[in-house]
Symmetry: C2
Subunit: 339 residues, 2 copies
């Protein structure tokens, strides 16, 4: 990490600069241009699906939002705060449909693996006949399919509405301003970017310190399933600090990009992916347990959902283990030496 | 292992001998005496519970049976085969009650952990009111308590009947013969024990080679839960080779004891314990899934049993991981150098 290895950005990236406000302006303009390009493409292609243009739109929105946050002292504060809020609303709204689709696929793939089946799960619901538990898996798949497809359809409508709203047009106008003229504070030119980026990195390191990494480094610690049957809130509570680190890792990445570091250290990429998997598995586990609370389901269906929930919490634990391994390599400086 | 480290028994044990028939006679007589002593104590104390005398009885029975098997060519074959069959029947019958009690305790402890509870689970069934899932855990605990206590009571009656049967008295008579006069074959004195012990060890090594150890060495491989919802037989099929190694490891240990090796190599003890845990968790997982097939249970109960089943299969996987680690140390020769 930067405070331990001051040469990091030099070694990991192509640009050795610690960055000035002109780099910030260039980065924000690039992302704003990318946002507008994706938006144009998206409007031409039609529906706000999980298409490449929607992903590019969200990708740029996240970067603009994160950069406005990290380098806030260099920017017109009230203007950037407002744009940030609106971008968060937009990317949240656009992300939901894709998230439901991915969650369903993750759960159905897991069910298929657990049922030792080769055919897709929901299609089997009508025909399965080999043992009560297989029927349970098929019914659980059909139930999840119904619930998550409904949620996805709703998210789709919401996204469509959002893209036609005046609120959205205001966001697009804000980004268009950014593409031509970044509203810097008057004294911005006197500052370097590196201290702000280092601040994000320090916050990231602090957040990682609060994680139970020693425990996560022991495989099969069964931590992720502790309180798995307790109440609705319990697993989410233990996941929160990990989700927090995931967001800080992202913020760190965008700050490095603004500084001109083109290749994010590979172990940080691995760590970041592990936390993405952590988030996905945690939400899939929650969806399985929510489906089990559907009234009047068969016991075999509920049983299958219980197995599925535990399987996904197992994945949560595996992701923490993977994060711990990657972070260890980051800390031991391997991130610096690896090309 | 012996074929790789011929000095092993010298290094690990106190007695450097490769053993002759007189060692075999002494070992069998010792175990037979121990069996009769435990039996006397057991009769005096009363019920065939999981008491120390019942455990000592089974412990001696396992050792006699294993030794008769390994050194069969040195013994009167038909006599020892018959005694072996009868000892297997006896220790199986006596073990069952204890096994049900342990399984129930393992499952209730796991449920308590999963429910994030401090109070014992079955007692909560009537009072729990914080969320449907906690009720499910409490009801699952009560169901398992009912089913396994019933099984335990039946096993208790069977064990009582067995201890009063003429079949049992015939076994006791057979062991009494062994305590005074081991029926060796005439040419037994011409043989050393070491080749027979080495043969057991070779079978153990061969059996370990067939295990998917590479996969087991990768934590969170999710192997143990594959086909977890498929049908009743699937998990048992993948467990079988591990159970087989567990039995061979035991046989190896008894053969070493007969040779006069007093301290079994510590990593082999660790490996052996891991496979005990593997067996216990596999059977507990099967009990949870069997309980889920009880007619007319509530969905919340079935859900809790599904989570519990997956949790125990997770333990199965963890035990394989632990075995792999211990076995690696055995193979790298650490078993030899460790005192």
């Amino acid at each position: 990490m930067a405070q331990r290895n001051p040469d990091r950005s030099k070694a990991a990236g192509a640009d050795p600069a610690d960055g000035g406000s002109e780099d910030l302006v260039r980065y924000l303009q690039d992302q704003a241009t990318e946002f507008l390009r994706a938006l144009r493409q998206h409007r031409e292609s039609g529906a706000p699906e999980a298409s490449s243009s929607a992903m590019a739109l969200r990708r740029a929105a996240r970067r603009i939002s994160g950069t406005l946050h990290t380098f806030r002292p260099l920017l017109d504060a009230s203007w950037s705060d407002e744009l940030r809020t609106e971008l968060a609303w937009l990317s949240g709204t656009l992300a939901r449909e894709h998230a439901y689709a991915e969650r369903l696929e993750r759960l159905l793939t897991a069910l298929q693996r657990l049922a030792g089946s080769t055919a897709p799960i929901p299609a089997q619901a009508a025909t399965a006949g080999t043992g009560q538990l297989t029927v349970g898996a098929a019914k659980a798949g059909a139930l999840l399919d119904r619930q998550l497809t409904l949620a996805r359809t709703r998210a789709h409508s919401t996204a469509l509405q959002a893209l036609g709203s005046s609120r959205f047009h205001a966001v697009a106008d804000g980004v268009a301003v950014l593409a031509s003229d970044v509203p810097l504070r008057k004294d911005a030119a006197a500052h370097r970017l590196a201290p702000f980026a280092a601040d994000v990195e320090a916050r990231l390191c602090d957040a990682v310190q609060t994680l139970p990494l020693v425990r996560a480094g022991h495989p099969y610690n069964a931590e992720a399933l502790v309180h798995g049957l307790a109440s609705d809130g319990a697993p989410e509570t233990q996941d929160t600090p990990w989700h927090q680190v995931r967001l800080l890792l992202r913020l760190h990445r965008y700050a490095q990009e603004a500084l001109g570091v083109r290749d994010f250290a590979p172990h940080l990429v691995t760590a970041s992916r592990a936390l993405d998997r952590h988030r996905d598995a945690a939400e899939a586990a929650a969806a399985a347990s929510a489906a089990a609370r559907t009234p009047r389901i068969a016991p075999a269906t509920a049983y299958a959902l219980g197995v599925l929930h535990a399987d996904q919490r197992h994945e949560v634990e595996a992701a923490r283990f993977a994060f711990k391994g990657a972070w260890q390599r980051v800390e031991s400086g391997a991130a610096v030496s690896t090309p």
